[in-house]
Symmetry: D2
Subunit: 338 residues, 4 copies
């Protein structure tokens, strides 16, 4: 039987999550809910999603977007809801989902305590699948990116300590009101940043100190990562360890990829929907080991890396598959790792 | 019989032209030629194009890209070649195409005298189709954008004079070495710019003065256009005139599109390949008439607006269809105007 | 006797206005008022201005900035107040100034009806000086820039119609939260923009249509200007007309100035305080005449072009000098035109 | 007797070095040499420097810049030459200086082997002063920034290992042709970057691994620094250690400085020439210690931090003062640390 999943909030994350759900063999999109009848609402309708108006149904009609119902209708029609509303709104929505006794996923913009547990497929799928949390937060794009590489490194070599500088895009490509314009901001100024503790919501025992910086770019985040390993390693071995991960793309030297601009071009050349890059992109040429100190650069596509994780999280809370099965199924349906 | 078309230069324009040709019912891609075996070469191979190495075939092999031949082989295998090499290289290549007696198209980065005539489907398709030019230049992205709106305005209302400021993107999204970073450059400083005379290569009698400005953005050009019409008009009538054009998209108010960032998002939401916008995007809300002075804003996607024009130009020089037929065929195959 | 002038709001405009007042032989700064005790408050104190705390005097003390009083104290100690608070706050402050019966200036971020009249030294000094407006708005940076060139052009050649595209910086260099990052926004989308009518607040009879665009840059605005003149002119004559203006800098070709980046460097090289450029910067190479259509590019330093205008406006409402006298006095004290 | 110092190359660094020399009580500028008679040449002349034309003297005359001689004349008139030409040109110039038997300084864009030794006032002044190197390279802006904080940290706590990510500005504010526009580039992609070994040219025994990133901003570099100390420390003690350094500015929390945009504003508010920040700017709020791992952010003004170092290097090779004396003299003359 198909799992009926509703998407509340149809923006950068919500639209991608809806498409990813629709591509799964075992799920169906029960509908999407949206506040504003802009071009994205029109697109949702054209893609065949039942559009639910959160506030002003009349405005949707005026924009030629038929309205399938309101948020309550959407929750009622769903086995699981994925909340993709702006940071902080998810916390307000939880009581709506609870009123319907409907399990829900939340995004990384919410505080960890919005949910009963946090989730990353590579780090703690089975824990969630075996636990009884019905309200689960999929960790943020940056935390997802760190968890995906630190988990295998810890398994294979042991991680003594991680230090990472997250050079963050100022806004997404369609956020025309975000800055900064010509600045490089320590963000937050206080060190370490909240990203390390956020990694600990899915990998509790890992020592990880992070520093955040925000810059005038929109395409991807860039992580400059140092991991002090517990055992000796060489760069080639680490490269293989990372290349073995289905959600890590080790960028080969001959591709001549200078940065996120080239990576996004590569994704568009590959015919990826919206030019998405669901995988961490680790520069092969950057992987270096000095003593037990491993270094590398990775680029994280903030708009899409959490998308396969949301799909897996649905299966984890629905108890439909174990981690390996779910990840394979999700990857195959989306084309992750190809 | 299928027209065999070769693409020399597989970069921003070349890759899109190749895909557009491949989508046509009456054309086939005889191969593409490339200088560097980077990620784009890999992608060309994966898309099934016969990759020809311009210089260093061994380097392609080393990057796992099988080599189908060299440039001479490509020209020999083609009924028409589309030259999509960087500005100025096309002029050097003409003698190669002539040696094979193969008709060729050139791009707008070349000087007008690279070819026997310049082309824009809306402005002068029939002239090219009925003439005997075998070397034809498809005008630049900006000139294409101006020609598409000025032709119908001139037909319907008469154009007394056009004054346009072209706010140009500094580089394409994958050009990581282009600037400026934090500047607004008169470019060129001298006025009027070369864009007006370039419009005159396809619309010889039109009075058009242009000023160029370059800014730190990559997504699209933005044109601020003033047209003094020869007859009275009102904004609604002009809006209809423009909306009737198959390669003009009049952006509705309810879409809430603030700029190129939203337009590209809209194209990605529509599932367009690479998020391309082949059409001029004219803001409906910006169309205004003061006396006989018409004003509007249009955004031009520099990476793709010339793509359907290249397809039409192939048919024009091959004598395979008239303007109306070709445009409909091209649009349908690509999804232009949908 | 020295005119005592208070500055309410010590940000981008207020700090420059305070310094400009302090440099005048006939004025003294009675104090400045500020809301937040940040580094600018410290600087105001170090420059010797009596800092008045608008809200939280204790916070200023904690930041080692001695507090001279509150806003009421400042107004009471001033013959004239210049309101340099953020757009919209000035309108709320008017009643405070009125309660003290103290004449006040407002900035261009306020609606025209905040004051009894609008002011630009070149356009309407004498009108203000001879009238009895006690609450006067100094027009915005863009409007100031347009008024300074249109006034002499109208006097010498007659202006039939002006069409200008204002390519606006997204934020000031110290505004780290402003965007856009990678976009070119029609702003406003509707045409013509409010800038034309704003010019009419000081030059009521001029026909001027403007279009606004906002881009990711911070240094200066760039205006692409077309003026249809009423009489014939040639580029050299226009160049002389503009060069004769003390607040217009015609940039010579041999300076090799590519844009605002170079202009700001030039100002720093000249030892200008804060690298300010009080003058319109018109590229000599861009001045062109086609028929009666004049074209040119000018760059406007949004942070400082209104500063000498504020000084003159004080004299205009205090009745202390006529236009010519005031402008010479202001220019000399600041170094405008040198 | 005054030391006569010539400056070859009058760009971003050269113009500042010339002004800094002119401000010293014990030095005089014998002249400056320049290739292009642009606005900077005009400014040099207005500042009273004897302008020497490297190539085309006639072009300088045409731009109204009197020519004092050529490069040979300048070297002949100088006791020491400071080469401030673009990276790589200094190496070509060395033979000219040698032919005149004139000691010379080079900048950090040159390879270390351009000179007999590399210099940073805090790291190795006395070594240079006591040695007999006559051709000395002042290390780059980033290396200067690292050396200034690592030297005292090593003296006080011992440095076990330093790991730093250097988020570099893409170009200087007046470089209108530099990118990237909307990208975050690993630069270089290979890790560790050359910056660590460059630190070792002045601090040979320090373990320091660096990673470089380039972003679309012009104002300053931002360093995200981790130092594993050899002994225990707490954040307050480190803060005091850094605050004691005359060329480190610990930014207080109450200043509310969000990033380089605010820092440059602060420098302009302080009346600094060109808004220069000669000091490392370390955010006080960012200084944190986890175990023996120290973290902090510092901003480095690439255009000016090497300027006082060049002045000191002149004295070091002229044997005129010891480190402490020279630094105090330089700082006092420029206003460093005030
Ligand atoms: N964009 C990213 O880079 C990114 C990455 C990972 C996680 N996230 C997280 O995902 C969540 C969504 O972010 P986004 O970037 O997709 O935001 P977004 O602004 O692009 O989309 C949010 C959507 O929610 C709608 N919305 C607004 N208020 C609402 C309300 N009260 N109820 C329902 N819908 C409402 C908006 O109309 C919009 O369609 C946030 O928690 C964010 O932190 C974002
Ligand atoms: N990018 C745009 O915005 C745009 C828009 C309209 C027209 N054009 C014009 O299209 C043409 C191509 O521009 P582009 O942006 O696609 O450039 P590009 O740099 O993206 O692609 C050019 C391709 O040609 C290859 N190449 C380089 N030297 C070559 C040579 N000697 N022979 C063959 N191939 C060579 C490069 O490897 C690359 O694959 C230019 O005339 C340009 O002015 C570009
Ligand atoms: N910055 C420009 O480019 C520019 C150019 C011309 C005109 N203006 C106009 O000048 C005015 C000031 O703009 P700005 O750029 O200097 O702004 P700003 O934000 O740089 O400075 C405003 C100052 O006012 C203070 N302030 C905030 N709320 C206040 C209040 N309630 N009472 C008193 N002070 C308060 C702030 O702390 C700040 O010091 C606006 O009307 C603006 O539109 C700005
Ligand atoms: N700008 C920085 O951020 C920075 C920081 C530290 C060190 N440096 C180093 O300082 C040196 C100078 O850099 P810059 O930024 O001042 O460069 P710049 O381009 O601003 O200035 C170089 C000057 O040298 C002149 N010049 C060019 N060719 C010349 C030649 N053949 N002979 C003499 N002069 C010539 C140019 O006209 C210009 O005036 C480089 O080694 C650079 O790496 C630069």
């Amino acid at each position: 039987m198909m799992l009926r999943v509703g998407v509340n909030g149809y923006g950068t994350i919500g639209k991608r999550v809806a498409d990813a759900l629709a591509a799964q063999p075992d799920m169906t999109v029960s509908g999407v809910a949206k506040t504003t009848p802009n071009f994205e609402a029109t697109a949702a309708h054209r893609r065949g999603y039942a559009v639910h108006a959160i506030d002003d149904a009349a405005a949707f009609a005026a924009a030629d977007v038929p309205v399938a119902g309101d948020l309550d209708d959407l929750v009622a029609a769903s086995d699981v809801v994925i909340d993709c509303t702006p940071a902080g709104i998810g916390a307000q929505n939880r009581e709506i989902y609870e009123a319907h006794d409907t399990p829900a996923l939340y995004q990384g913009g919410e505080d960890a305590d919005v949910a009963d547990a946090s989730f990353n497929a590579r780090a703690n799928y089975d824990e969630i699948a075996n636990g009884d949390a019905e309200h689960v937060r999929v960790v943020s794009c940056n935390t997802t990116g760190l968890s995906r590489v630190l988990t295998p490194l810890d398994e294979v070599y042991g991680v003594e300590k991680t230090r990472a500088t997250l050079v963050r895009r100022g806004g997404d490509p369609s956020q025309s009101d975000r800055g900064p314009i010509n600045d490089i901001l320590p963000d937050p100024v206080t060190v370490p940043s909240h990203h390390g503790p956020d990694v600990n919501t899915v990998l509790p025992d890992l020592a990880v100190d992070t520093m955040g910086v925000t810059v005038p770019a929109t395409l991807m985040h860039l992580h400059s990562v140092n991991v002090t390993l517990e055992s000796d390693a060489d760069a080639d071995a680490v490269r293989e360890t990372l290349a073995d991960e289905s959600r890590v793309f080790v960028v080969p030297e001959h591709a001549r990829v200078a940065g996120p601009g080239h990576l996004k071009e590569l994704a568009k050349d590959a015919g990826r929907p919206r030019g998405d890059l669901w995988e961490n992109c680790v520069w092969g040429a950057s992987i270096a080991v000095e003593g037990r100190d491993l270094y590398f650069f990775q680029a994280i596509h903030q708009e899409s890396d959490v998308v396969p994780e949301n799909v897996d999280a649905v299966r984890a809370i629905a108890g439909d598959a174990d981690a390996a099965e779910s990840v394979v199924r999700t990857n195959r349906a989306l084309g992750v790792g190809r």
